[in-house]
Symmetry: C2
Subunit: 414 residues, 2 copies
């Protein structure tokens, strides 16, 4: 029997049944529901000629040894955010399982290259605020000391939650051993945005993940009485912030595929009887081109200073987090575009705004590409997250073709 | 001995010493510190030919009976906000005491009209969120049922806090009896704004209190992922709110002496990785002319709808609170201007943005006027609140002259 994409749909539904409630998926990493999902997944391996183990950070590796030790990695993540969707992460895992089954059957258990399926541990960082946990340990970009002291909302320490799942925080760097013989990494994921639905296309090739500049931008003015302070004598920190909230849009518009978001504004004292004396905002800027990302960041700083001056305020910037753009592998991008074209309408090549485990894998030097399948309404991290079943099926087929082409490419590189 | 304005300054300092800590004045109504301030004040009455009592809402009345029962009321409030200033409210009480003393001496204990000093209970509403408490009971504009269930931050009920101070909530309407024979009301207060300091003038006549339209304005857009949602497909509730935050300034600028303030902005979900789906703002608009106030309110509604439409959002308005403009008495305004001119440079006639007990008294039909003295830096409700001592002294002199002129005017009305 050949590839069975319908089985992927039914297995995704089975997982949803097992690990969701009326609010959505509850497969938060390091919880019992997540462990139940992983046990369920292990059950699916019965009868396959594979070796399965958890690495030092609890990434779950399923290996189908091939004629060559060189390994094609296929992945995703079973963990979800609280009240999450049924496809985010799990589609990658279960589509990869179907592709691995096809390799096993087609080559009587011994494909030309080794096929490895990885279920990354804690992609979402939903409980401890550190996303890409397992893949960054694999990539060696993880910093253990910074994470040791993290706690969840109930005050449980990351270190203790990990130990309960068999992970010793001092040893998670050992997960880097799994990089040995890794020759390529493929990941299928839902888009989590509205671009493909708007374009009426099922699939896209992902050119890389956008770099992110994320900053706290705080304006300082002068708190004053709303009733007794004439307009002309005010130093209104909110006015300066409002100008920046609007200016980030022309900044983004000057650069293709750029996004700039002010996601949070806090006013102090924050009462209706006082002019805002301090306004704290959070700004997120993303682009695939590092030069453009740097330019956008610079333009926002300049604008904020101009607005602060206009409003007789001051402004301070403080970096929350940043990551450089991570372009995927050009040859694998080409193979992905080819695979999409073979099973569906030619899809675009687009950058991913959200980060994915594939970004960490790519950073570690392993040739990587991702494929997106259309998300309905562009909605994710929500129980109403959905994708048409026919699109899930065509995505499994496209991933399968991409895996074959990539296996051949790995062989050709030897 | 004639009027002694320096005594007012020294009594204000005595009160500060007694009722402040390193964070400022702590004379919050219905607390022990407030009761201590009132006891201290009663001690100042020894030797004066006055009758003193607390009315049904705990306003403190000190009466110097005159040849006529017609009464000239002079007032202020000893209560403060937490960490408040030394002059807000207490200047009015202690300047009035000095004026009452002068009347008692000048007329050997029997002035031509009755002089009554009132220390209003709970002007600030700092503990239970209901300002002008005592003066609104006096004016008969108080609504008892709405306030019965109020609690402070520790969960103490207003009703219980009042009972501890001898006030039965069901009887506070009886305070209206004090309106009998009231012929005029005068109140001296610090400006709490920067206008007089900017103009280099010590005193102003207050033409009335501005009306207030205070509304919650909420914009509804669509929460979306900051990374995966292209700029053109967003419905950003913050963008619509930012436009309104800026537009209230031209709205105010079209009308003399208008103020419009957006004092609070809250973003939901309020995280940097999501476009703002809902933005709650609070808008305060004030003017002395009811037609202009209504026009400004209308202009803000129209602008908010236009911005919501531009951003493909919706907007909802909900009234938080409003009060009509309260113009003071024209003849008393004239007498106040005359009194200011006699002791200092001619001051402006200006509306008060903040509300005062005088607004409630005026609403009840008693001819009323207020006088402002300069505030340093325009700052109030803060321990650094201050006024030059020479300005306090000239203010006491001006209030004294105004009281004499008003007493004569009351006699002329009989």
């Amino acid at each position: 029997m050949a590839l069975d994409p319908k089985r992927t749909v039914s297995e995704l539904k089975e997982l949803r049944q097992l690990t969701s409630d009326e609010n959505g998926a509850q497969r938060v990493a390091w919880t019992d529901t997540w462990l139940a999902a992983r046990d369920w997944f292990r059950g699916k391996l019965q009868g396959l000629p594979v070796e399965q183990h958890y690495d030092a950070v609890a990434n779950n590796w399923t290996t189908l040894p091939g004629e060559s030790k060189k390994a094609l990695l296929l992945g995703g993540h079973l963990d979800s955010v609280p009240n999450g969707g049924w496809l985010d992460g799990s589609l990658g895992v279960l589509a990869s399982l179907e592709v691995l089954r096809r390799f096993a059957r087609e080559y009587n258990g011994r494909p030309p290259v080794t096929i490895r399926l990885v279920d990354w541990a804690d992609e979402e960082g939903a409980r401890f605020g550190r996303s890409l946990f397992g893949s960054s340990a694999f990539a060696g970009t993880h910093s253990i000391p910074a994470d040791r002291g993290r706690t969840d909302r109930e005050g449980v320490r990351l270190e203790d939650a990990l130990r309960r799942c068999g992970v010793e925080i001092d040893r998670i760097g050992d997960a880097g051993r799994e990089r040995q013989d890794a020759a390529a990494y493929l990941e299928l994921h839902i888009e989590q945005g509205p671009v493909l639905e708007r374009a009426g296309l099922p699939l896209a090739t992902v050119a890389g993940t956008k770099g992110v500049e994320r900053h706290a931008v705080t304006f300082f003015g002068q708190e004053a009485h709303s009733g007794s302070t004439p307009m002309g004598l005010r130093r209104d920190a909110l006015a300066a912030a409002a100008k920046l909230a609007l200016e980030i849009r022309p900044i983004a518009a000057r650069h293709n595929d750029a996004v700039c978001t002010m996601g949070s504004v806090k006013t102090f004292p924050g009462i209706v009887t006082a002019v805002v004396g301090r306004c704290e905002t959070a700004l997120d800027q993303r682009h695939l081109d590092p030069a453009i990302l740097a330019a956008m960041h610079h333009e926002a700083i300049e604008a904020s200073r101009r607005f602060a001056e206009e409003e007789r305020c001051t402004v301070e910037w403080s970096r929350i987090w940043s990551i450089e753009p991570i372009p995927f592998h050009s040859e694998l991008i080409r193979l992905c575009q080819e695979s999409v074209r073979e099973v569906a309408a030619a899809g675009p090549s687009m950058p991913s705004g959200p980060l994915h485990d594939a970004a960490e894998v790519s950073r570690s030097g392993i040739p990587t590409v991702m494929m997106f399948v259309q998300s309905l309404g562009g909605i994710s991290h929500n129980r109403i997250e959905d994708t048409k079943e026919e699109h899930i099926e065509v995505a499994v087929s496209a991933l399968d073709r991409l895996a074959s082409k990539t296996a051949a490419w790995i062989r050709s590189q030897s």
